[in-house]
Amino acid sequence: MKAFTKHTGLVAPLDRANVDTDQIIPKQFLKSIKRTGFGPNLFDEWRYLDEGYPGQDNSNRPLNPDFVLNQPRYQGASVLLARENFGCGSSREHAPWALDEYGFRAVLAPSFADIFFNNSFKNGLLPIVLVEEDIDELFKQAEAQEGYQLTVDLQAQTVTRPDGKSYGFEIDEFRKHCLLNGLDDIGLTLQDADAVRAFEEKHRQAQPWLFDAIK
């Protein structure tokens, strides 16, 4: 997994609550058996005026000029500013894959849906929860100032504005450690393989019907 330490980038404000995973990456693109190739179809239904389909050349599709990511001032954005319950809906990891491939490294919102939140960490995409008032303030600033950038420092757990004001954010120790070092969860869990085996044996003794029914 890609590590995340410190990142400074252009902020794109997406001013909608409850942005769902069907919006982040529509269902037709989930037919892919790969982990890559989703970036051009991020927010596909908002971003383009026609209906997208997997495998097409996206470079000639008509863009929706009203959609925030299509505005010239937000080209190259890598920090997404969002509203409450971002990423609600399905468990598709294609959503963080698409955000990551588009170029986003961090998403800031007052709240996230649980599964999306969890999936993001597995892909080096940092979801940051700030209180609603702070998010509101960032929306105002990002919309008012062209080229508005934020600096996210994972080690220090801060988001810093161009004027120097900082917001602290919470993150689980385990997730922080994995993200800072780009660690693969599976490798870490397998370090505890003996504990898993010991648990499994006890579990099997107590509830044998949980084992070997499906062959």
């Binding site: 001013d15 909608r16 609550a17 409850n18 769902d20 069907d22 919006q23 529509p26 269902k27 037709q28 989930l30 037919k31 892919s32 058996i33 790969k34 982990r35 239904e45 209906e51 997997p54 495998g55 509203r83 409450e84 319950n85 609600c88 809906g89 399905s90 468990s91 598709r92 990891e93 709240s111 849906a113 649980d114 599964i115 969890n118 999936n119 597995k122 689980d172 120790e173 385990f174 450690h177 969860d185 599976i186 870490l188 869990t189 397998l190 505890d192 393989a193 504990a195 898993v196 648990f199 499994e200 107590a206 509830q207 019907w209 949980l210 084992f211 070997d212 029914a213 499906i214 062959k215």
Partner: protein
Amino acid sequence: MSAKTLYDKLWDSHLVKQRDDGSALLYIDRHLLHEVTSPQAFEGLRLAGRQPWRIDANLATPDHNVPTDNRAAGVAGIEDQVSKLQVTTLDDNCRDFGILEFKMTDRRQGIVHVVGPEQGATLPGMTIVCGDSHTATHGAFGALAHGIGTSEVEHVLATQCLVAKKMKNMLVKVEGELGFGVTAKDIVLAVIGKIGTAGGNGHAIEFAGSAIRSLSMEGRMTVCNMAIEAGARVGLVACDEKTIAYVKDRPYAPKGEDWDKAVAAWQDLVSDADARFDTVVELDAAQIKPQVSWGTSPEMVAAVDANVPDPQQQADAVKRSGYQRALQYMGLEANQPITSIALDRVFIGSCTNSRIEDLRAAAAVAKGRKVASTIKQAMVVPGSGLVKEQAEREGLDLIFKAAGFEWRDPGCSMCLAMNPDRLQPGEHCASTSNRNFEGRQGNGGRTHLVSPAMAAAAAIAGHFVDVREMLAEEATA
């Protein structure tokens, strides 16, 4: 020992290791797989040279991409080459890793959340995961079940564990008796309308109260299925006699002496009387009316006799603009009666409402009536091959066909338009599925979430009607 909730008990009984950093390793008993969220996980295993930890914990079936007609040809009958490759990839991965799969031509194939319980692969007291957010469905059995992402699918395959963090406990208590014509779907839509789509974030929701206990297992599955639409990854209902009766004699359920031991163990799958919940929400079942979603989020829901809300009445600016955007997308006017919404298509199916009881409820409305001439398509899609067979034994297919409904083969179908069943831009659909997100049922499509009985009634009338009135006419006729 302090009192525990059902969720606490399930968590504790599967805790392999509590780490110092606050994370935990949780043992997973059952892993369900389908074609959409697994290919990258299998690819990850291959790249790392890993094997599944425990083959017998896994069960797979294709559901999202499969067409719901002309199924005799199997995979070869999938016209969309991208879809076909995804289904073939599941077949290949299951074969290579030795995982049992109910393939497209297997009579046990169906929507993974219908198949698991039907086969007894879902048992009380289990931990169950699947790369699909509607895995919450299985919580109806007193099992800890939730959706996971593809990285976690790979993690569970490789380690039989999840790295997890304990959620908070929420109790949704629905007391009293449901009115005539009001169903499990209406309960859960009313709950989502009350607490919002983010209301359950960070929580495991236990549904309790006399109205929940009165529901059949099918009804409980419908309620737990949509816990995720209230933001909760986990929905739960305590285990009781109905749970045990449903599970008994299913193919993968314990037998003989194991059965007796299992039933004894399952008696404890209830929250202790004095268990503490972080959040408690109460609803009066008698006050719940048939529900219809009018917007683009499952919390945008109203009773059938209400009007579409007026965004101007919303004090919160973010909510107001969300309502405005939703009405624009849905092509609706503020304050128009829900019953004035005309439909183009009707979809009865999905992991929420495609079980036998759902089909019976829809058939009871359809019987002796005709789908309105203004409806372009009304389809009934059973949740599995076995549900289809049972419905046909009961003659439900004949009722549907006589009324003008299409009788299809099992799959996710129009719930998410990854297969040929979908809406055209601007079309309104009365749907028994779970999400009314923009484009969910097809680009530009307009979804209204309802119960199977309400969907059937809408098909007959051509617009939303109060199914209680339609059924009452019958009773007095």
